[in-house]
């Protein structure tokens, strides 16, 4: 661990993002639209996941020039993605002085055995997870924030729901267990005992947990919030829709008023066409980004 104080400060930044929407943007202009609409942070990248899916080939960290231009355009925190295990891309992003690194399955993995040792960095990391064990492995590596993997670039919420429910069920299953049982559960989860014990004691993850991967409507965002997410990432869902500014504003409001169906009804009205969705049964195993990483 770099030092505990730095890690705490990084978890603290994630706490400030709660109740907010982090939006994928590919240009300074989109970044300004996102900020104006009420994004609590932007994810700077060359292509949104839907385009990465369409184009195929190897997806890498974005050109620093794009990231710098987006950083210059907004006052809210800026995040950017690196490939799983590509610690040099992470070093480059840290050198650019952005606020958060997403070690992301949306990009083509650089290492099939190891994720980045995030304790070697000063900059905070967010990582995807499909269940409690995966979340705790990433936290053990130093992640300051977790998000569901979902299935990025599909505008289909089903995988994000599955992953968030799996994390919640994992946490609930630890309730009331004794030490010997927790040791056994730690083995099953493939996660360090100390973290498993902490989650059992506190009844929640030790870091902020956002929903990501397939959110396309205000109702999707509110669904994830009601299921217990601390906030949401919207990747392709905004700038692949017919009216990005309006949809972005509506999703921001939905995350604040997720428990108020009357407001959700009002803001869901007349948003234009959402991003066209993908039926997950149509994806081959190698087209499923969530399976990347371990």
């Amino acid at each position: 661990m770099v030092d505990n104080e730095r890690y705490t400060l990084n978890k603290n930044l994630a706490q400030m993002l709660k109740g907010g929407v982090i939006m994928d943007v590919t240009t300074p202009e989109q970044a300004r639209i996102a900020e104006e609409a009420g994004a609590c942070a932007v994810m700077a990248l060359e292509r949104v996941p839907a385009d990465i899916r369409r184009d195929g080939g190897v997806a890498r960290m974005s050109d620093p020039k794009i990231i710098k231009a987006i950083k210059a355009a907004v006052s809210i925190p800026v995040m950017a993605k690196v490939r799983i295990g590509h610690f040099v891309e992470a070093q480059i992003l840290e050198a650019l002085g952005i606020d958060f690194v997403d070690e992301s399955e949306v990009l083509t993995p650089a290492d099939e055995s190891y994720h980045i040792d995030k304790t070697k960095f000063k900059i905070p990391f967010v990582c995807g997870a499909r269940d409690l064990g995966e979340a705790l492995r990433r936290i053990a590596e130093g992640a300051a924030m977790i998000r569901t993997k979902g299935e990025a670039g599909t505008a289909n919420i089903v995988e994000a729901v599955r992953h968030l429910r799996a994390v919640n069920e994992g946490i609930a299953s630890l309730r009331g267990l004794g030490r010997a049982e927790l040791v056994a559960r730690a083995k099953e989860l493939g996660a360090p005992f100390e973290l498993v014990e902490q989650v059992a004691r506190e009844g929640r993850l030790p870091v902020v947990n956002f929903a990501a991967g397939g959110i396309a409507t205000p109702a999707d965002a509110a669904l994830m919030m009601q299921l217990g997410a601390d906030g949401v990432f919207v990747g392709s869902g905004i700038f692949k829709s017919s009216n990005p500014a309006k949809r972005a504003q509506a999703i921001v409001k939905a995350v604040t008023h997720y428990n108020n169906p009357a407001i959700l009804a009002e803001i869901s009205e007349d948003l234009g066409d959402p991003m066209p969705g993908v039926d997950l049964a149509a994806l081959s195993p190698e087209e499923r980004y969530a399976a990347r990483g371990w």
Binding site: L13, M16, A37, G38
Partner: protein
């Protein structure tokens, strides 16, 4: 005593709620104008001021809040909340609530790599040095004659009050120390 409101539009409102609950105070999350009824105080939490400012306007909270402030409702803004309170944001035309006669600079220390923790004596708030957590924090560069500066760090104003208004650039709700929450509650009694 009516409940203390915590503005719950975005950001770290649960942390303030937890600090208040540790002090045995009733708390209400505020998202809509009707949530403001009968409050004895209000906390504007940390988060993103651009997000909260937009939602304050969109859901009709700005005007009732200004009215309550004028009537003397104690309001405390931490970090983004300090920006919401300020009458001026340096380098921007935006003003959110515009209640407190301070000129603040956003992200004054830089990005997340410049976030830090320190300790400082804040006389009148606590006899012992207080842990102060700054996350992409602002500070105030100027304060009007009616503003009382409570703490400075390297010459910049990081805590101040003006009548019923209190502003801190740092986050007491992220530490175990309840001194600033107690100080705010004392303004109510």
């Amino acid at each position: 005593m009516g409940p203390i409101g915590v503005l719950a539009l975005q950001g770290a409102f649960r942390e303030h709620r937890a600090s208040l609950e540790r002090l045995g105070v009733p708390v209400r999350e505020v998202r809509l104008p009707e949530d403001l009824r009968g409050l004895s105080g209000l906390i504007l939490p940390g988060g993103e001021s651009t997000v909260m400012g937009r939602l304050l306007r969109d859901f009709g909270l700005s005007e009732p809040l200004r009215r309550l402030a004028a009537e003397g409702l104690p309001i405390w803004g931490t970090c983004a909340g300090m920006i919401l309170l300020a009458k001026r944001i340096i380098g921007e035309d935006t003003v959110h609530l515009g209640l407190m006669d301070i000129a603040v600079r956003r992200n004054a220390y830089g990005g997340q790599l410049d976030s830090f923790r320190t300790e400082l004596n804040v006389p009148g708030v606590s006899p012992a040095p207080l842990p102060l957590v700054f996350i992409r924090a602002p500070y105030a560069e100027e304060a009007g004659p009616r503003v009382r500066v409570l703490a400075t760090l390297k010459g910049k104003i990081i805590a101040a009050e003006e009548g019923n208004l209190l502003a801190t650039a740092f986050h007491p709700e992220l530490t175990d120390d309840l001194s600033f929450h107690r100080y705010f509650l004392d303004k109510i009694k």
